[in-house]
Amino acid sequence: MTKDPILKAKNIVKYFYDPATFKALNEVSFVAYKGEFLTLMGKSGCGKSTLLYCISTMDTKYEGELVLNDKLVTGLSPNKMAQIRNEYIGFVFQFHYLLPEFTCLKNVMIPALKLNKLSHQEIEERAYQKLEILGLKDQAHKQANKLSGGQQQRVSIARALINDPAIILCDEPTGNLDSKNTQIVFDIFKQLASENGQTIIAVTHDNDFAKASDRTIEMADGKIIG
């Protein structure tokens, strides 16, 4: 397999100043490759989410450099970053999932409507497909806040996939899921990585999940330890 780097983090340092100055990320450097299924592990509070927010371009207050697809992202304008997020990055959140007043289908469609590359009908078809993959086709027209936590998490995974992003970032994507659905999500990620060449970076506390991935990065106290 050729190893094309898709994302490079170079010496990322992140401080929090409230309540006291605290170095949450300490010179974190790593490379993620195209078509790689990466997992990120470490004790609670070691800085996994913080790192994910930095590489998602949502958090811009860090030192170091972030290179996406050979382009330096650090220091771009907020609008440019929003556009990059929309097109190249899918994000699955740890706690907050969906827009409650919209149907599941609409939630999945919105990033694609925003990207505005396909017709409304094509987007709708794709959204159905993604929901079907995650076993939620029958819930498509339900309002998002009427779903169980696990269902909501799966809808948010479907939403992260809609624009076929180069990178999918997940913060404990299977945290609320039973073993069957965890397996489904795992298989989807595996498939996306190997067949579509998409890169997955997933934070997890699940050892089996991590072991089965292509590579696991271990973190402790804001540093990569292996």
């Binding site: 556009q83 997020r85 919105i110 409507l113 925003k114």
Partner: protein, 410 residues
């Protein structure tokens, strides 16, 4: 397409929060409704007082201005001066060549109507009562045509002066004060010392005390007689134009034809106009304040909407919506509330105007002077929308600045 997803989100927010939307709209409606109503009221009053002005005042008057004597007069010796008290020179108020001037004025394209008359001060006497007032000697038929005087006659007609050389038409107030009735005789004396006993052939009521209690109309020839002047004597020309609001410009144009004083009605009715102005400013500022208070209501509701939706905003930003998109979404929501509220407000205002315009005031006023004025509806609508957009902008701007990471960490 890019726009449509923002519209879709705004629309969904609005219809899933019907109560808040409705309350915001009602706030706007009250503000806009009251604004429209108060401004219609103010405009109605102004129209009424202006109509009242034109019952007896021409748009433009031409007359001889009082000349004041100079205080320093050079002496014939050329080395000394005579110092004098300044005083009104007792020059004649006669307009020279009035017919020619009248004709020139009538030929102006903006003049609809013009006539000449004599104006002078008189004393009305009956028995031992005596009242001061003024007389107008005029061709009453022409005058009535110009001022629509027949509308205000409560007894007799304007035509009767023509049939009675020694007739007089007086106001209702004067008739009451001197207990006069149609057919009674009234003694009138001029400053020139001429006394006439005239028969009352008409009584008018114009709703204006200075007219109803102090003005009488006589034939032009009687007027000239009482001033001891010749047959072509005229003191004043009255001119009505196509647009009273432009009277000042018209007056300026007429100045080039004459050396006499040309005075537009805004000058002679300055007092009235300043009262109008005061009322317009007062009502305008009160109603604008109410509208602004309503805008604060909108501001509040939008702010709280945005606080409740802060998660959604963070999610939208995470999936690639930028600050401008967020502003558009919330401004659109403000606009929707604004349009609904403003439309309701116009209906409310129209309802109030409808009710009040049906109140009968009696007397010369008749129905309450308030009207449906389209420009005011338009103005209220535009102002309502502008104020709502301003009120919506600040919360929307705050929403655009939401930092998604800080929300996701909570």
């Amino acid at each position: 397409m890019k726009k449509s997803v923002n519209i879709e989100i705004a629309y969904t927010h609005i219809i899933t929060r019907k109560t808040a939307t409705f309350i915001a709209a009602v706030g706007v409606a009250i503000g806009v409704g009251v604004y429209l109503f108060m401004n219609s009221l103010s405009s109605g009053f102004t129209k009424f007082s202006r109509d009242n002005t034109f019952v007896s005042n021409a748009h433009i008057k031409v007359y001889v201005k009082d000349k004041i004597s100079s205080t320093i007069i050079p002496h014939s010796s050329k080395t000394s001066y005579i110092i004098n008290n300044s005083q009104i020179l007792d020059l004649s108020k006669k307009l020279y060549n009035p017919d020619q001037l009248l004709q020139t004025i009538k030929n102006q394209p903006f003049v609809i109507n013009a006539l000449s008359l004599v104006e002078y001060s008189v004393n009305f006497r009956r028995g031992s009562s005596e009242l001061k007032g003024s007389a107008v000697g005029v061709d009453m038929n022409e005058y009535a045509k110009m001022f629509n005087t027949n509308k205000y006659m409560i007894a007799g007609s304007t035509n009767s002066l023509k049939e009675n050389l020694l007739g007089v038409i007086i106001g209702q107030g004067l008739a009451k004060k001197l207990s006069l009735q149609m057919g009674d005789n009234l003694t009138i004396s001029s400053n020139e010392g001429v006394i006439q006993v005239l028969k009352i052939v008409g009584i008018f009521r114009m709703g204006n005390p200075s007219m109803d209690e102090g003005r009488c109309f006589v034939n032009l020839s009687i007027g000239r007689q009482m001033l001891k002047t010749s047959a072509d004597y005229v003191t004043t020309l009255y001119v009505n134009t196509v647009d009273p609001d432009k009277a000042e410009d018209y007056a300026k144009m007429l100045i080039s034809y004459t050396d006499y004083e040309v005075e537009n009605w805004q000058i002679s009715s300055a007092e009235l106009l300043s009262a109008d102005k005061t009322r317009i400013i007062m009502m305008g500022s009160i109603s604008l304040t109410i509208l602004i208070v309503a805008a604060f209501g909108i501001y509040n509701i939008l702010s709280s909407t945005i606080n409740q939706k802060i998660n959604d905003i963070a999610i939208l930003k995470a999936i690639g919506f930028n600050g401008t998109d967020v502003i558009k979404i919330f401004m659109l929501e403000a606009l929707i509330m604004g349009v609904i509220g403003t439309a309701m407000g116009l209906l409310l205002g129209a309802g109030l105007i409808g009710i009040v315009s049906n109140i009968y005031m009696g007397g010369p006023v008749g129905y309450f002077p308030i009207y449906f004025e389209f420009p005011l509806f338009l103005k209220s609508f535009i102002l309502g929308i502008i104020i709502i957009l301003c009120a919506g902008y600040f919360p929307a701007k705050n929403a655009a600045n939401v930092d998604p990471v800080s929300i996701f960490r909570k």
